[in-house]
Amino acid sequence: MEATRGLTQPVIGTASSYQAGDADSEFEAIFLEHYKRVLAILVHLVGDRAQAEELANEVFWKLSRQSARWLLTNNVGGWLYRAATRAGIDALRSAAHRKRYEHAAALHNQEGALETGPLDDVLRREEAARVRAVLQSMKPAQAQLLLMRGSGASYRELADALEVAIGSVGTLLNRAELEFRKRYSKLAERKEKL
């Protein structure tokens, strides 16, 4: 993944040399290059494919509103993954999601099964809800790091996306994993007390 996309034409913008056709094709190229990973981050976070697609479109829409100068001089991929992580976490933090995930994760077993279907699916959904609750409570940068690494991003890609030195990625991943485990354990303890 390029750290900075080398564009010779404005992608979206008000520059006097703006040409509609050039801008569209450049934006399309960015979209096609990064869409899979953006959507993967959002699906992991919100769990709902339709909602993740809607959020992904909003993220790309926000990108399209950056100035041409910004797009030429900044790390577009890094911006997209950060924006996707924040959008997913914001969606999780909305009242409806918090009640659905935290309370369902903490109280589900005590109040009896609300879900039907194969036991494996039920357990999987319960575990996914718990993991999402942990991710949305973490710093977005740490959540982003774990999600991107989980989806196969290399250290170089992680360094570019988070705009850190590649030599520090190992340390940051270690910290993020420790934080995840700490919060996961706390959530599990809370569930046991209920």
Binding site: F31, R49, W61, S64, A128, K139, G170
Partner: protein, 398 residues
């Protein structure tokens, strides 16, 4: 080889070390019990986290992603809006449309941070703030733009701001109003006119806008470090705080010979002295009810504003002294370039207004802005030429 750091172990575990380094690590692990124990513990930690995250992966057909199909759907939904991004959002994201470009970056940091909890709110989390007065602080904007790193610095700060801004309410394009009465009905508050200047050439009403930003202390500190200001420390308590801004509908009345092109300000081509700024005898009169700014009561805005002012060029002592003089409960603080402008207090309708005038020999020579707050409405009168025309005109406010 001395004992291995967790960083190195993790990098080796992830297969991200080169062949030679990997071999060296493997050799060490064979003969160091302590490192081997830590390796095992790290492996267990990583495996548990990965297993948890794997629960989130979509299953079966849901896992298939077709970017080309997705783009086609995106164009159907957003295609008409691809080239119509709102100007006011561009100001926030890029901060390229201020009165003085160097000021905008400092403004972005200080403006949002210039409020302090004025009263508690039922939410128990956020304090709602409203502007009652304006204060101006001269800053040395060359600190932001000087040297070869100037542009990179400005981009970094703008990027920090833009990355963290989430727009929750898009005002859309301004709507024209035939007269002040119609504008009042559209905006929801009484729109005033400057009778001495005659009928406005145009009146535009902008929709409501809202955005929030979550403060990431590590990222803010990284911006300071990368701009050579690691001496300025962002308070740790800032981390994770959310600042939300709601901007009510805004009315813009243009008097005199103003450009006809939509909501774009006059340009050099239309006779303006500087692109994007008022030209000729055009006077821009803006009215907007106070934005509502929500911040956590625990957020130490004074400390944060001190950091922002230092980035904008003040010394630590100057920033601290200034912050003590500001009534943080209700003041909108506007930084202006100290070398390219002057300001003074003037009486407008019985309240203190601030008149900011560009220096005669600067890049924005001839420009002025008069700002005041009355009854919860922020007024701004801007033009090119003598400010005495504006001062006379405000006497005729209805």
């Amino acid at each position: 080889m001395s004992c291995l750091t967790d960083d190195l172990l993790h990098t080796r575990m992830d297969g991200e070390l080169g062949a030679a380094d990997s071999h060296e690590v493997d050799q060490h692990l064979r003969c160091c019990a302590d490192c081997h124990a830590r390796w095992s513990k790290l492996a267990e930690q990583t495996a548990q986290v990965r297993a948890s995250l794997d629960q989130l992966a979509p299953q079966g057909e849901a896992a298939a992603i077709d970017p080309a199909l997705a783009y086609s759907r995106y164009r159907q939904e957003y295609g008409g809006r691809l080239q119509a991004y709102p100007q006011w959002l561009n100001r926030i994201a890029a901060w390229k449309r201020p009165l003085w470009s160097g000021v905008a970056v400092a403004c972005a940091i200080v403006l949002v941070l210039s409020f302090a909890p004025g009263r508690s709110w039922a939410q128990k989390i956020l304090a709602m703030l409203r502007v009652q007065k304006v204060a101006v602080v001269p800053v040395d904007v060359s600190a932001l733009t000087a040297g070869s790193r100037g542009n990179a610095r400005e981009n970094l700060i703008a990027q920090f701001i833009s990355d963290n801004v989430v727009v929750t309410l898009d005002p859309g394009k301004p709507s024209p109003a035939p007269d002040a009465a119609a504008a009042s009905a559209m905006a929801g508050f009484p729109v005033r006119t400057l009778d001495e200047l005659g009928s406005p050439q145009r009146i535009l009403v902008s929709g409501e806008g809202a955005f929030h930003m979550t403060l990431d202390r590590d990222r803010m500190q990284a911006v300071l470090d990368q701009t050579g200001r690691s001496d300025i420390q962002i308070p740790a308590a800032v981390d994770g705080s959310t600042v939300a801004v709601h901007i009510p509908k805004l009315v813009r009345s243009m008097y005199g010979s103003c450009p006809e092109k939509g909501d774009q300000p006059p340009t050099r081509e239309s006779g303006g002295a500087v692109p994007g700024l008022p030209a000729g005898n055009c006077i821009d009169f803006i009215q907007v009810p106070s934005p509502i700014v929500s911040v956590p009561p625990s957020l130490n805005l004074s400390a944060l504003a001190e950091a922002g002012l230092q980035v904008a060029g003040m010394s630590a002592a100057e920033a601290q002294a200034f912050c003590r003089t500001v009534d943080w409960s209700s003041t909108l603080v506007i930084p202006i370039p100290e070398r390219d402008s002057s300001h003074r207090t003037v009486n407008v309708e019985g309240v203190n207004g601030t008149l900011i005038e560009a220096s005669p020999h600067g890049n924005f020579s001839g420009l002025y802005t008069l700002i005041w707050v009355k009854n919860g409405i922020i007024y701004s009168l801007g033009g090119n030429g003598s400010a005495s025309r504006a001062l006379a005109a405000v006497q005729s406010l209805n």
